[in-house]
Symmetry: C2
Subunit: 412 residues, 2 copies
């Protein structure tokens, strides 16, 4: 009798986006005319086309696949050397981070990597996550059996939740207790908060003291506008001994439909075996990658490579600037509407406090029905998201302006 993985049965239904879709559908069926003016500011997906340099590079790559002499079959599972070199040079060594080419693992997505990374960690680790949080961190730990059951508020036993509040700028400080693994996401989805160098230094110091590993998700790194903020955790001395960093071309290069990302596992990073010895994690992730993955599409990798050319960088930055102008327009609109707003400066997300006494789903319904705008209820990201909603800057300029106008007119 084949046995299934019972831990899956602890998972809460993937409630958030299906429930949003259901409410939007009900609204559209009941109100055909307002439905036509519906603006979606909910989902965190890019809307602008790919930079022309990427399009050209991918056309060239497709053409190479048409000719025997330039055809590419299996590539290295960890990514082509030319892409790994471009990444380590531009994203790390150019910023003073001592990351080698072979510490870069090219992959098909940060979502995949933040889930798959758990393969190389054993059971029994005490795991900390922020609240609110990107749900994938939680769900993959539930699947792996690292948690107990969920309580009524949706919090799982054995996870350590780190509250994110206005008081800590939505960046949690290290806890007063011991943990072994901690997920940090900066710039943050959903709150839009970005950690300062001092905040990351406190975490690196904690991790080194506790021999903990930081899983640092920097998928939104390209949206940082404040020059004082670090783009990589490796800008903090000591981080190469305690952190794995996840990066993506999805948001920075518009690659959500193209699929290319990467993970950095420094060779100096160690964890403990059952018998108490320290052992580097790099060979484990290398073995995991070569055994359970077959590399990213050659065409996608050529598309990613060109993002490091001067032309590609300029084009990608122009798209990001456009989204960040949307964020500014939305921020001004929401602030004029009298709502307390966070994020949207170093991240494409705004984290908006609904008026006192208004819950996340109440706010969602009111904004859908009266402004005909779809937002994301903050409670979908965890108990501490209750009373907030997330606004995404991934949209056209016209939609951002119209959303700002409608939110200003909304009476609570």
């Amino acid at each position: 009798m084949a046995r299934l993985n019972d831990h899956f049965l602890k998972l809460k239904a993937g409630y958030l986006f299906p429930e949003i879709a259901r409410r939007v559908r009900v609204f559209c069926e009941a109100h055909p005319e307002p439905a036509q003016r519906l603006i979606r500011c909910g989902i965190g997906d890019v809307t602008e086309p790919l930079p022309p340099a990427v399009i050209a590079a991918m056309h060239r790559a497709v053409d190479e696949m048409a000719v025997r002499e330039t055809f590419h079959g299996y590539g290295p599972e960890q990514g082509y050397a030319w892409l790994r070199a471009a990444i380590s040079q531009n994203d790390f060594r150019a910023r003073g981070c001592d990351v080698a080419d072979d510490e870069i693992f090219v992959s098909d997505g940060t979502k995949c990597d933040t889930g798959n990374i758990l393969d190389i960690f054993g059971p029994g680790n005490k795991i900390a996550i922020s609240d609110p949080v990107y749900p994938v961190y939680v769900d993959t730990n539930v699947m792996a059996g690292h948690t107990g059951a969920a309580n009524e508020a949706g919090a799982y036993a054995r996870l350590v939740y780190l509250p994110c509040r206005p008081a800590n700028g939505f960046v949690p400080a290290p806890p007063g207790r011991h943990v072994d693994l901690v997920y940090l996401c900066s710039p943050n989805n959903p709150t839009g908060a970005a950690a300062t160098r001092e905040q990351l230094a406190a975490w690196v110091s904690y991790a080194r003291e506790h021999k903990a590993v930081i899983l640092f998700d920097a998928a939104y790194e390209a949206y940082i506008t404040d020059p004082a903020l670090p783009h990589s955790i490796y800008e903090v001395p000591g981080a190469l001994e305690c952190a794995i960093e996840f990066r993506s071309f999805s948001k920075g290069g518009g690659f959500t439909g193209v699929r290319c990302a990467f993970t950095v596992v420094p060779k100096t990073l160690q964890a403990q075996t059952r018998s108490g010895e320290f052992h580097p994690l790099h060979p484990l992730w290398l073995r995991r990658t070569t055994t359970k993955f077959n590399g990213v599409s050659y065409i996608s990798q050529r598309g990613a490579e060109v993002l490091y050319s001067p032309e590609g960088q300029a084009q990608a930055r122009a798209v990001i600037a456009r989204y960040m102008s949307n964020a500014k327009i939305l921020r001004e609109g929401v602030t004029k509407a009298g709502l307390k707003t966070f994020g949207g400066v170093n991240a494409p997300y705004l984290w908006v406090r609904a008026p006192k006494g208004v819950g996340s789903w109440q706010a969602f319904d009111k904004i859908l029905n009266e402004a005909n705008v779809v937002v994301t209820p903050g409670s979908g990201f965890g108990a501490r998201g209750e009373g907030y909603f997330r606004l995404s800057a991934f949209n056209t300029r016209a939609n951002a302006e119209e959303t700002a106008r409608r939110l200003r007119e909304l009476r609570w």
Copy 2:
């Protein structure tokens, strides 16, 4: 103190292909001139360019990504509906298999899927694999903690090895003992054997009796030439209640560098919870896919879709016919050389018995040094592969002919 997954430390070094590369390098350095005539018949990667219809479809898809109105961001994690519909219709319903569109999960590779599928199974399953075997099945179970340590011959405790021999046509019959999960690969890598309908029916009958799940890897299905052989395990009545099937566009469409594959999880397939209830596996794989995967490149999916058009099918079949002509040429050459040869009729691999008393690596060295051809030593696929070597038909016609000529001239 973060704890690593100790099971990784049980893995044998990924010995086979690095060791082949090492010996080839030594040979080339010592013999610069013969090195120039080196022919690689070792690695199982396609060599022919992509079909023109695929190239055209991918160019169109790249162009769509350049314009806001036709840009594609995140797609459904399970694959686009148009691709899932084309797959289920052409690969299954057209062959009388009652597979629904939403039982198809588009992925980036069969290697990934056969590894990742273990996420949905619990501990304590008794697992059977063939010997020789595609090493990924073994290594992913070691990583997941489903085995004990390896013995000197490289066999892991707690795995059930099913010997593949000339006497059973290299297709093992169900064992006389109970197992819960069994990997079957047909057409087989490395032996080139393809299971008959009767052989699969015996496995389906066994699995239903034992409430076991068959993990059926049909990545080489497109190479079947015998019209009597089943292409899918679902052609056997009852298989929809006991089998997961893995398919790939890698070998059939030349997609090893493009990355697109799929897995079929029928909704009628169940496994047992810890408390003894039966529960469908489909929702678990759906949850796994939506949580730990972000879908396949839009461009790759459009490339795969066109393989189902009459034009795409004709072009892909022409490439496969070319490889299978290579297989025929190699078979004739090796047979004339007096070596007993299996496979190469319904698979792009030949499984060749070295002369009596000659081990796999001895044969490898002799063929490398005297014929300047690189093969794959059979012992790299398991203890029962000792005394064999694998020849791949993925090559140009000229190389296949020259390899056949050289092997005929070789004196053992």
